[in-house]
Symmetry: C2
DNA sequence: CGGCCGTTTGAATGTTGTCAAGTACGGTGG
DNA sequence: CCACCGTACTTGACAACATTCAAACGGCCG
């Protein structure tokens, strides 16, 4: 529970920054969606790691579309207590509808790029492109579902379950960024304090739990690198209903993009989840070194 | 943590039930919205108290618009742990977008009426009536914000704070159902176990906390009746940022309906909140006896 | 090298859960 | 009218899990 919001966000707005960094790794889906939104956006904006994108109490007249990077949504109480609400990955919509005041803050965990869509254009989106409007609504709905998953975890699960839950979720959601491509371990730009603030635990206790999970050969998290050692056990410890794990798979990037992708819906759900966490591709293994 | 999902939901679908019960107490806003949705809905449906509206794992091809009654959204783990995610009031959209599987269940706390809107019509809504589509998205976004509020409460607040938080929230949201009308105490169709399951506490501990809050002259909750004794202290104990309390006020029914209503935006937020919780009207006091 | 940040570990403390027994209320049936 | 029952709530004693405090360690960077 450190103060967190130290670095004030510089606000460099450049048009279409992200086209310049296309070689960087980020979601194809996010790219695609961003392309369709291109006519509505006012521009792109780059946020340095550690900077705030927006803060509690602000009244914005834009929504953001996260193109690249990790962003944490969080609430910071005046006495220093912090709760992380959501880790946003590329493709996420950081949205607040006209008239709503921000009830939380957002901070970039890595350097990040967002597309800025003014509210006045939002109306146009819904009017001229109902398909996109509906997808936006669907994305927000998925976020809500994720928040509900976290509510169950924090409210009713033990520390061990919560941490396992979070790591599994992040692993699945991250992996789903590149449908078809798989990774054995991933870069997770978090500290143990972040994990604690997301799971409602103290960082000290997170340390203990992680140590146990490692000792039991389930997951390792060292040097901001997450490695799943035993997917079966992890799923087991996380105590997640398979339906819910599957919703992480399907919901995140876009409803239609992944629908016919590779998922055979007649495979038992538990098996399907295990596949997703387990299957290894050799392609793109060079990413492991990066960042 | 009882089994909860005992009573199987009977599914009587009648067309436009709610028109027949217009004299009953429910949100004007809900009514208004429902009217505009009338051409899209397949009909109305009445759910008896204690019956499930839908359950985890189901794949629905409809969304529901709650016209009347209280509905609890909850997750039920196989070992009996339960977490209540949200108390839905009239005007809420219980929505799952096409392709999404239910990741939670919903149970009526009182007898309730919902409008049923098939997914196939949902496309029409977004296409033909972007205003409504956007309002739907906005409602979902408000739900997400509420979920985030609960995440902070469960993750970072003490038992006393959490209970105060929940009661204050329900009181404000309930009162906002009838903008301009006020109530001193309200009918809260919950048991202490519901409160525990919503706040991540055991019912035993909720009992202790409620007893203390009563002894301190802050709130009373006896016999499904909630009475705010000391709004200032309650707001204080709940430890809520005024921005957040205000979002409960503005978000719930519909963005535009309450906007110009009575809110003078230049009043300090804390004062405004206090007004909302404190001001008493004599009108509609007859409701106190009902139900 | 020194300082900083993030992590690890142990010991003491504390909030909340669990268990168990008892109370209050409302409904039902004699 | 009363006895009986079930449900919800209350209360105390105890246990458990997680927090706090404190000290020490390790890598990284100036």
């Amino acid at each position: 529970m450190t103060s967190f919001a130290q670095a004030p966000s510089k606000i460099p707005i450049d048009r279409h920054i992200y086209h310049a960094s296309t070689d960087d790794l980020y979601a194809e889906c996010a790219q695609e969606m961003s392309r369709t939104m291109v006519k509505y956006k006012a521009g792109d904006r780059k946020i340095d790691a550690g900077c705030d994108l927006f803060s509690l109490g602000e009244r914005r007249n834009t929504i953001f579309y996260l193109v690249n990077g990790w962003v944490a949504l969080y609430k910071l109480h005046e006495d220093g207590r912090r709760q992380i609400l959501h880790f946003a990955l590329p493709g996420a919509v950081l949205a607040f509808f006209p008239g709503q005041v921000m009830t939380y803050s957002a901070q970039a965990l890595t350097s990040a790029i967002v597309s800025v869509i003014p509210h006045r254009n939002l109306y146009s989106v819904f009017r001229d492109d109902p398909e996109i409007g509906m997808r936006l609504a669907s994305l927000v709905s998925s976020d809500r579902n994720l928040a509900y998953d976290h509510l169950f975890a924090i409210g009713r699960q033990s520390a061990r379950e919560r941490v396992a839950h979070l790591l599994l979720e992040l692993f699945i959601r991250y992996r789903m960024q590149w449908p078809g491509h798989c990774i054995e371990d991933m870069h997770l730009p978090l500290t143990q304090e972040h994990i604690g603030d997301a799971t409602g635990l103290s960082s000290v206790h997170v340390s203990r739990v992680l140590r146990n999970l490692g000792k039991d050969g389930i997951v390792e998290f060292h040097y901001k690198r997450l490695r799943i050692l035993n997917p079966d056990k992890l799923i087991d410890v996380a105590g997640i209903d398979p339906h819910i794990a599957l919703s992480w798979v399907k919901d995140v990037p876009s409803i239609n993009a992944t629908a016919g992708h590779q998922a055979a819906t007649n495979i038992p759900i538990a098996v399907r989840i295990k596949q997703i966490v387990t299957v290894r591709f050799s392609r793109h293994s060079e990413w492991r070194g990066k960042q």
